[in-house]
Amino acid sequence: MKHRIQRLYRSRLTHGVMQATAPVGSRVLARVADAYEYLNTDETEELKRNFSLAFPHFSEREVRELILKYRRSSFESEYERKQLDMMPPAQLRDFCMKRVEIEGVEHFRAAVENPEPVVLFTPHYGSFSIGTMRAAMDIAPHKQFSIFYDSPEKNPTTYIYKGLVDRLDVGTKVLYNDRTAILAGARALKKGGVLGIMPDVYEYNLGLMYVPFFGGLTVAMGGTAFFALKAKARLLPAYCWRRRPGHFVVRYDKPIELSSTGNLAEDIYHTTVRVFANLETQFVAAPEHWIYWDRFANRMSYEFNVKLPRGNESWSEQFTNLRRAVATEQSTLGRFLSRFENNLHDEEALVASL
């Protein structure tokens, strides 16, 4: 019985019904998303706060509209995920080929037709799962494609992807973000392959850093830059979103230039800054598709209410504010930062006197 249901779940019939009802389904979904907006007031407040932080120049009405667009986009993403999960292999391949347009194809071709390895990155944005499937199909004739994601044990929402990659059956390798990740990623690139990474997630480790993002600092992992720098790979940004119901676009941007100071730690930082600048450009252009707006403030430095240094300003006074915001004077961290600040001032004074 279980197998019969499974067969029906991913049958051509189910797929056909899904496709035939998609236009209506999409409209219903939009209405449900709008209704959800009013029902879930806590989340709406959180989104309002986060969008206002990211776009301080937006009026209240603009923020409200953005929340509605965001909600519809996330509902559609979830619906697409389910749709993909229900597709039999042939339909899945057909869907990805016929429903997805490619922009920036020259950047893609230059990357895959060249022997050098490629680090392809995309954030959790829009229809990223469809974009990844399409990329996998386009890369397959040229290079080995390996993608990083969390194992289902770590993140239960990823269980769907392993099935998708298996059903697509174009030789894509799945690498889990675990202790073997660095070695596996390096191996994939050493053979001139393409490594797919999503840079907008993070977990605690000493390699974390804070980089400029939406007028503040955001926490970022250096993995994307690290792999690109170590393998001297082409660092290619990609974004996928729906243009209209059932039709999608994958856009490849110009490759990100790798920093080349010769100091790996500094190069990782500067390259990561460029990666996040690229993300920010896309998120400003069409913000509603980034799925992590609901937890945006958690990753940002806004809570300390200290503005980033700009232009030619000397930032000494602001550093004092930062120190006071980060730790109390009596705490160990506060004492360390006081001493640290004094040293900065002493050196500044010494330079001025010379």
Binding site: Y204, M209, L217, V219, S301, P309, L322, F340, E347
Partner: protein, 329 residues
């Protein structure tokens, strides 16, 4: 004669080791209570002494030669849990699997000893260095060794997914589970940020229901079940809601019946680990600002910048090394 003398000497040495270990444990627990309950040292010592007798007894049990007798002794502990009431509540789920997410305590040990009488029931207990020691007798006793196993969190998730004909009691101790940030959520516990593993919400939302924990009031413990309108949910908000509920109930146990809790030192160490990661993240943010400052200010000297970054990173490394040393000891 030599053998007699040797045995005598070894026995004295063992007793001395145990004596000093118990004394050390008492001081560790008192220190943890000072830090976590914000009590004066003397009051914390008095509170820690209240549980000495019970702890000493539990500490000795894993070394007892007769495993069955050791498990029986656990059943006979004088604990603040209303055992008959708890067993009645669990009896209604006799034919199915459920999850016990309990504070590591004398009551938890005793409850599991009582439950292990049901020979149709299997037990999957979370594998930590503490459970490895304290549940040793369950792993070797003839009546339980085939039904009790210690397993790692990932294996527990896998095992739960696999179909099984037996009713299984899954036992976790959220106050003992060390975890990395990616598999943890930050939850308020005893007034501080604390890292809780996502294991319990993952198990629960994947269908391992009901989930029980201990709640305490007026010095007594009772078993309570988590009630959620939805199952199979995996949003972070759902996970946070469950973990907050768990943390609140565990906090009651830590405050109301501190003498019953066995995990004071371990829980303090995990809280310390959380503080250390928060400090490292703050230093990383300061580093981020210094870098932005350097990019904006042409008068910011290269050598000052380089020295500042080295200094900030060195402190981060030192704190992280200490954190790792503390969590792996």
């Amino acid at each position: 004669m030599t053998s007699l003398y040797k045995n005598f000497r070894e026995s004295i040495a063992a007793r001395l080791r145990m004596h000093f270990r118990d004394k050390e444990q008492l001081e560790d627990i008192a220190y943890a209570m000072v830090q976590m309950l914000k009590l004066p040292l003397q009051q914390a010592r008095d509170l820690a002494r209240e549980g000495v007798k019970q702890r000493t007894r539990i500490n000795k049990l894993p070394q007892v030669k007769n495993s069955s007798r050791a498990i029986a002794a656990l059943r006979g502990l004088n604990i603040p849990l209303d055992v008959p009431e708890a067993l009645r509540a669990l009896d209604t789920h006799a034919g199915s699997s459920y999850l016990l997410a309990l504070p590591f305590s004398g009551s938890a040990m005793s409850l599991i000893a009582h439950l292990s009488r049901d020979t149709n029931r299997r037990f999957c207990i979370i594998d930590t260095r503490f459970t490895r020691y304290y549940f040793h007798q369950f792993l070797v006793a003839p009546e339980t060794h085939e039904r009790v196993q210690l397993i790692a969190p990932a294996a527990m998730l896998r095992q739960h997914r696999a179909a099984t004909d037996h009713a299984v009691t899954y036992v976790t101790f959220p106050d003992l589970e060390s975890t990395s940030l990616d598999t943890a959520r930050r939850v308020r516990f005893l007034g501080e940020d604390y890292q809780f593993s996502t294991l319990e919400p993952l198990l629960f939302f994947r269908g391992l229901a009901p989930l029980f924990t201990f709640a305490a009031s007026s010095g007594e413990i009772k078993l309570v079940a988590y009630e959620s309108p939805k199952l199979n949910a995996v949003t972070e908000a759902d996970m946070d809601a469950l973990l907050s509920w768990l943390a609140q109930n565990m906090e009651q146990v830590f405050r109301e019946v501190p003498a019953d809790v066995l995990s004071w030192s371990e829980t303090l160490m995990l809280a310390y680990s959380m503080k250390a990661t928060t400090t490292v993240m703050k230093l990383k943010m300061v580093e981020g600002y210094v870098r932005a400052w350097k990019s904006a200010d042409p008068n910011f000297k290269d050598s000052t910048f380089a020295r500042s970054i080295v200094e900030l990173q060195k402190v981060q490394e030192t704190i992280d090394k200490e954190r790792l040393a503390a969590t792996s000891s």
